[in-house]
Every structure is written in C-alpha cells, then in structure tokens.
Symmetry: C2
Subunit: 300 residues, 2 copies
Amino acid sequence: MYAGSSEMEQVVCVDTMVEGVHFRKDTLSSFQIGKKALAINISDIAAMGAIPTYYLVSVAVPPTWTEEELSEIYEGMNELAKRYEIDLIGGDTVSSNDALVITVTAIGKVEQGKAIFRSDARADDIVFLTGYVGGSAAGLDVLFEKGFNGLFSDKEKQLVKAHQEPTPHVEAGRILAKSNARISLNDVSDGVASEANELAEASQARLIIEQERIPLHPAMSEYSVERQLKFAMFGGEDFVLIGTVPKEKKEEISTQFRKSGLPFHEIGFMEAGEPSVFIKEGNERKKIQKHGYNHFQKRG
Amino acid sequence: MYAGSSEMEQVVCVDTMVEGVHFRKDTLSSFQIGKKALAINISDIAAMGAIPTYYLVSVAVPPTWTEEELSEIYEGMNELAKRYEIDLIGGDTVSSNDALVITVTAIGKVEQGKAIFRSDARADDIVFLTGYVGGSAAGLDVLFEKGFNGLFSDKEKQLVKAHQEPTPHVEAGRILAKSNARISLNDVSDGVASEANELAEASQARLIIEQERIPLHPAMSEYSVERQLKFAMFGGEDFVLIGTVPKEKKEEISTQFRKSGLPFHEIGFMEAGEPSVFIKEGNERKKIQKHGYNHFQKRG
C-alpha cells in the first residue's frame, strides 16, 4: 500500500522471464535472474521518464529449484532495489511443474504531463541512444560458446556482464522528462531494429539510422562488424534508451547528459514518410524489419 | 498510467496461476482461466476494503495453446473487468515451453486510513464470513469425478460454477471499510482453516469457529457432513471474506449487509491466547492447523 499524490502520475509495468526461454541456469545465476527481472521492469519505467518507486514479485517455482536458489533470486532483486531506493510491497510464490517463471510488476511516478511516450517523434528530430548496444547479445553468444564458468578474456567478461547484469537508464530518462522538450522514447529490450520500428510506428514517421554512428559495444571488437551490427540491431536486452528529440533541443539536452556524466549518442534522424526504419551507409539505405531478439524461441 | 490522488491510498496485489497446478484444461475453459485469474486479484483488493481500479496481465504461453484460446483468456478477464469498471493498463506476453502461467497485477484505491488488515482482531470480537464456503472445492471434486463436459445435476452445476467462476466480494469489503469499526479481514483463497490462522497469527489472538455456524454451500448436501467440512476448511478458492468485528458493532454492520442484500454469517469469536484456531462442537474444541488447500501439489 502506498500514498497517492495529486502532483504525480503513476506508471505501472509488468514483465515475465521464463526459464528455458529468457534464461537458463547456464546463462544466469539465481542472483542475476532476480536482478535482471527487476532491471527489465525498471528499464520500462525509465523509458517513460518516470522514477521507480515500488515493486511486486510473483514466482512460479518448479521442484528442481532449491529454497536457497529462490532466496538468491530475491537477493538479486534486493540489490538493485536498494540502489534505486524502491520497496518490495507484495508478491506471490506458487509451484510450477517445469520451468521457473518470474513476473515483476514495477510502479513508478512522474510529474503530471511529463511522462514520455513512443508516439511523439516528428520529421527532422534527431534519433539518439543513451549507451552502447550489442553487448548483451554478444555476452549471450560468449556464454553459449564457453559456458557459465568459462575462462573469459577481459572483453568477454565485459560482454557477459552486459548480458547478466544490465543497468536500467533511469537517470537518462529523468533528464529527458525534465527537459520540457518533445521527446519520444523506448528502451532497447528487443534490439535497436525492433524498438526503432516501434517508435516509427507509434509516431507514424520514418526513422533513419546512420550505420557508422551506432555506438557498438567496444568489447565486441573481436567480432566482425557484420556480427556486431547484428547483435546491436537484432540482439536486445541492452536496456539503453532509444529516442528522438527536436534538432533545436539537441545541444541543450546533450549538454545535460554530459554534465551528468552520461552518454548521449546521436545515431540518425526522422523523416516524413510511411512508418519504417532504414539503416543508411553512405548513400545507400536498407529497410530494417522489426524482427528483433527472439530469445531462445518465437514469442518475445 | 493513471492519475494519483492525495485522498486515496493505492493498493496493489499480484497472483499467479499455473497450468497443471492451479488449473488444467479439464477443470477450466480458457475464458474461465482469465476470469478466475482476475477474480483472485480483485478478491485480494476486496479483502483490504479497497475499490479495484486497474489491472495488468502477464502470460507465458506454451506452443500447445492457440491464439484463439489466448484471446478467450483475455475475454474472460474483460467480462469481469467491465463489471467492476476497471481498465487493463499493461501487460506482457512471452513464450513458455510447457505450462501456461498467468500473472495478474490488480491495483485498487481506498480512502486514507481506511484500508483493512489482518492484524486488528481482538479478544471478544465476533468472527464472520460473507458467504458460503466449500462450494469451490466440491466443484473441483465434481470436475475430477465427471470431467469438464460431464452430465451434472443441478447441485453439481452450482458447485462447478462456484469453482470455475468465483465472485470476489468487493461490495462486502467496501461496507466494512466504510463502517469506521475496527475490522480484520482476509479472503478465503486457501480454505477457512488457513485464512483463519493467518488472522489469528497477524492479530496474536485465538480464533474460535463454532462448527454448526459454518455456512456450508447448500449444493454440497449430497456429500457427508465430514466431507463438506473438509471442503470448507481445507478447500479454498471460495473468495468470500472472513473477518472480525467488535461485538458492539455487529448489529450495525450486519444490518448494512442485509440492506445491501449481502450475506453476513457470524461463525465464532476471538479469545485472548496464543495465536491459533479451534473448531468448537458443543463443548469440545479441536485445534485446526493451517494446511489449507494445496491445489494439485505442495506450494500455494
């Protein structure tokens, strides 16, 4: 239970992670499962420009999981919750027969009229990312290749960490919400291609990404550029924010990011036209479909 | 997203139903799964004396379920949502490999300081139920016996309906919240024994149930009294409310219920003493442990 406030609007997000689909015991520790389940939801809150405030957890636990592993899941969530000063206010623990299923509900608040949506991009806006992309998918590739306890190089360690312990971009979302600019925003849970297409569709405009400006995670340097781009565009789970801002507001907002020590990468621009996403390399444009990261099988 | 209010407190509840644990395709239709998943959560809101306002749904769907069945789940929720005028404000649909897992988050509101808890029962309070108990567990028994499409007698139909389409007691919760009396309250999701023990523990007092006053679902009359009592005490999923109210407030509150056309069954009283529950038959008392309805296996 929590007190309402007439100055703030409430936002609520829910996300489910399923064993064998979104994670396996050989890709995430119990602690990391908890931490990531909460991070995914906090990222949704961040993508609206809101401040996370509370969360609830519902877990369906099969007999193959021990009480200790279950505690570690809660500890993982608690570590992240402490960082954002958010409280666990409810939940449910039930049995399942096969897979562990964890659903987190996150609640946030944002000043009246300041919530950010996907639908406010307009022609001539610039498109930005608030951090490196591709690292999480590359980390999963490393985990599949070398196993949970593999001997990782320093770069591989960075990628594995990007996959296992992503950081939601709450502060970036707050800078944008307080900017008084017309912003559209989405978090990169399903790959840049998918999220960019969502922005384009919601805003009914064309989104152009300049290939050489995509901030590819530097620890991916051992991979070919082609694979790096694939991880970035179709990988997902980077949990940076992708958004748009009017050209004339770019300087002001990127300065705010710099002052806060946060990255702000301009990666492209909006155009009038049918809702679609193109990747531009020199003078060539390729249309990019939505099919982002499919985890281990079809449905998100 | 929804507007906050400084006069109301927000309450949030989350519950998960797992295929093969809380339901099977031969105990509930897709429509009923949706309706029941939402009913369970609205019942949690009712048990705090709150008004349901919004809900979110997260479903993990295995390949064995069709898109049409998934739509029916949402239709089932929508039917109940319309009745309570609550809006679906978010959700997530993901894949699972084996079982369908549905998690509903329900949001409610209650006037400042009016939320009801389990911990306010005191010695000499009377204990009440807001409806018949045992019907849902008896209905499940009928379903196990005769199958989903069995030829049911009229009484069996009532029991099956009690199991498949339980009604949350929101109006009863609201009468209690507005009564200005010191109330403790819980909803009967896990059987009277389990919920009564929760009240006794939270309130640190002894709860006595007079056996002959338990409002056994009348459609159970073909069962022995012993089985009827077992269904009522250890069955669960009746989603009536069990609570306590000070003796001197009983008349006023039961009159309120009568005026609203709602049942109010006095079933016992509170005593000072170690937190525990006893069932009283004549001059004999039997201690009743918590182990309520275990669904198809151990964890709630």
